[in-house]
């Protein structure tokens, strides 16, 4: 019968996928010789760092020939879970100290995390702001569809803090799993507004950001740390050092981040 064939096919697919993953995992280079930096540097970074870190990664590779930076961008909390469950990574950059704390508490950080940038919330609206949203209070208008991040992820926690401080009650249509998902709902025109980071609206061409004063109460610090089980310890340290360099700072500022 057909279903037996499908089950067999699916099992084969799953097995093939696992084998591929195992093969990739096993193929990592050992730590490089002391002194020079080389090899793969794996950086787990919050979704909101995507554009800035991609640029910084390329600059880092150019400044350190022989290195290759691989990023895993996702919601900070998901990344933290992956790290505490043993995912091989060299550097972790989170969008909130609370998320970083779970990694530190699990004993997976090498050293103390340093806050390297700050980010604050804006209201993301479609280009030209067709619904005329000007303040945080506007988001409670019944004719608006609003997307927020889920409270479990940093952008959602920050949104809740800002809304609570302002005493604004918003009924969102969806609680997204990370900031980029919330932003994509604005880009696709499915919602009229979303609370995202200022950097996200700067990076997106078809989205405008509306600043609001209450966002000052919910500024997120971004901590970064090298990880204890880093396959490439020297690479991790070099990347952290590069983050503090002037060229990297310029990229972060241009992306809309603030100095800590």
């Amino acid at each position: 019968m057909g279903s037996t064939g499908i089950r067999a096919a699916l099992a084969a697919l799953a097995l093939a996928a696992t084998m591929t993953v195992t093969a990739c995992g096993g193929g990592q280079d050992p730590a490089p010789a002391a002194g020079g930096v080389s090899g793969d540097v794996t950086v787990f970074a919050a979704a909101s760092l995507t554009e800035a870190f991609t640029k910084i990664g390329k600059d880092f590779e150019a400044a350190n020939p022989g290195t290759k930076v691989t990023f895993n961008f996702a919601g900070s909390s998901a990344l933290a879970t992956q790290i505490t469950q043993g995912a091989p990574a060299d550097v972790f950059a989170a969008a909130s100290p609370a998320t970083m704390k779970t990694v530190v508490d699990a004993g997976d950080a090498a050293g103390t995390p340093i806050v390297f940038v700050k980010n604050q919330l804006v209201i993301a609206v479609p280009k030209g702001n067709p619904k005329g949203i000007a303040t945080l209070e506007n988001l409670s208008r019944p004719d608006l569809k609003v997307a927020l991040c889920a409270e479990q992820v940093p952008c959602g926690a920050a949104a809740k803090k800002a809304l609570d401080t302002a005493g604004v009650k918003v009924t969102p249509v969806t609680l997204e799993q990370d900031v980029k998902a919330a932003l994509s709902k604005v880009k696709l025109g499915e919602v009229d507004a979303a609370l995202v980071y200022r950097t996200d609206t700067k990076a997106a061409a078809d989205v405008d950001g509306v600043e609001f004063p209450e966002s000052a109460t919910a500024i997120n610090g971004y901590p970064v740390v090298a990880l204890k089980n880093a396959p490439n310890q020297a690479g991790a340290d070099a990347f952290l050092a590069y983050l503090r360099s002037e060229p990297a700072k310029a990229v972060l500022t241009a992306a809309g981040f603030q100095a800590p």
Binding site: S3, A11, A78, L175, E176, L188
Partner: protein
């Protein structure tokens, strides 16, 4: 089996016993590995389960709401898939038409498409700015995204190929002579389909429906992309598990286990009724 009494007395050994002695032993190793590969992750999950928290989580209204929503939407999606998928399978199996091979290939697209991409595709079709969605919005003021109906649509999109492929396989394996016999005895096309074809492939439909329901129940990517995540309205169990994973691994494990226990219980109780083969 009713084979024995049709055979003349003193016939050779029945084929069943003959077959048992000739089982190719070298199949045991990959078969055992396959079983272990599928079962061991579950064992790991069970070993990490904080059993004390199980009842405590079961009493949470938010979890019950997610569970109820999951069961409801998966069942509705399965009904939709049966209503549309069985006729589609029949068309693919029994009717010669130009582009049939292409149609067959196309129905497997949701299987290979990453579910998140499927969700985006659904948004581009049914979303407020979508091909059909913009018309729906303007004409009826109705939009599918972020609604429970949207969850059903996302799940049905991802799960329907399982049903269609299973039923099509059953139809192609079924003996068409029964249908021809019914026709020569004067049965109309609809009567033949209803009274002969459908009962013939009923086990295939049941197996397909189970696969379809199970896939719909576990659906995550298309759902969170197309229907969003809102407790009580679009937050199904897989979405609740994913968000629990953001903060609390133990809670996520408990939630997955609840979903697992409920779905396995339902499937096991249906199995005896539906797919018990003679």
């Amino acid at each position: 089996m009713a084979v024995d009494h049709t055979q003349p007395p003193g016939a050779v050994t029945p084929p069943r016993r003959h077959g048992r002695r000739r089982i190719p032993v070298f199949l045991f190793l990959p078969a055992g590995l396959g079983l272990a590969f599928l079962v061991l992750p579950l064992v790991a999950l069970l070993l990490r389960t904080p059993w004390g928290e199980l009842t405590q989580h079961l009493a949470e209204p938010a979890i019950l709401a997610a569970l109820r929503l999951s069961l409801l939407t998966a069942s509705l999606a399965t009904v939709c898939c049966i209503l549309l998928g069985v006729p589609l399978a029949w068309l693919l199996a029994r009717v010669e038409f130009p582009g049939r091979r292409l149609a067959r290939a196309l129905i497997t697209v949701p299987l290979v498409l990453p579910p998140v991409v499927g969700g985006v595709a659904l948004l581009l079709l049914f979303g407020r700015r979508g091909l059909i969605g913009s018309w729906l919005d303007e004409t009826f003021g109705f939009t599918l995204p972020f609604t429970t109906a949207g969850v059903v649509v996302a799940e049905a999109f991802v799960a329907m190929p399982f049903l269609v492929i299973a039923v099509e396989g059953a139809l192609r394996g079924a003996d068409t002579r029964y249908e021809e016999a019914a026709a020569t005895l004067g049965a109309g096309r609809w009567t033949t389909f209803r009274r002969v074809t459908l009962p013939l492939v009923a086990p295939g439909i049941a197996a397909g429906a189970v696969l379809c329901w199970a896939r719909a129940l576990g659906e995550f990517g298309a759902t969170i992309t197309f229907a969003g995540n809102f407790p009580g309205r679009t937050q199904t169990m897989p979405l609740a598990v994913y968000l629990a994973l953001e903060t609390d691994l133990e809670a996520a494990i408990v939630l997955s286990l609840i979903l697992l226990i409920v779905s396995v219980t339902i499937l096991a109780s249906l199995r005896d009724r539906w797919i018990s083969s003679p």
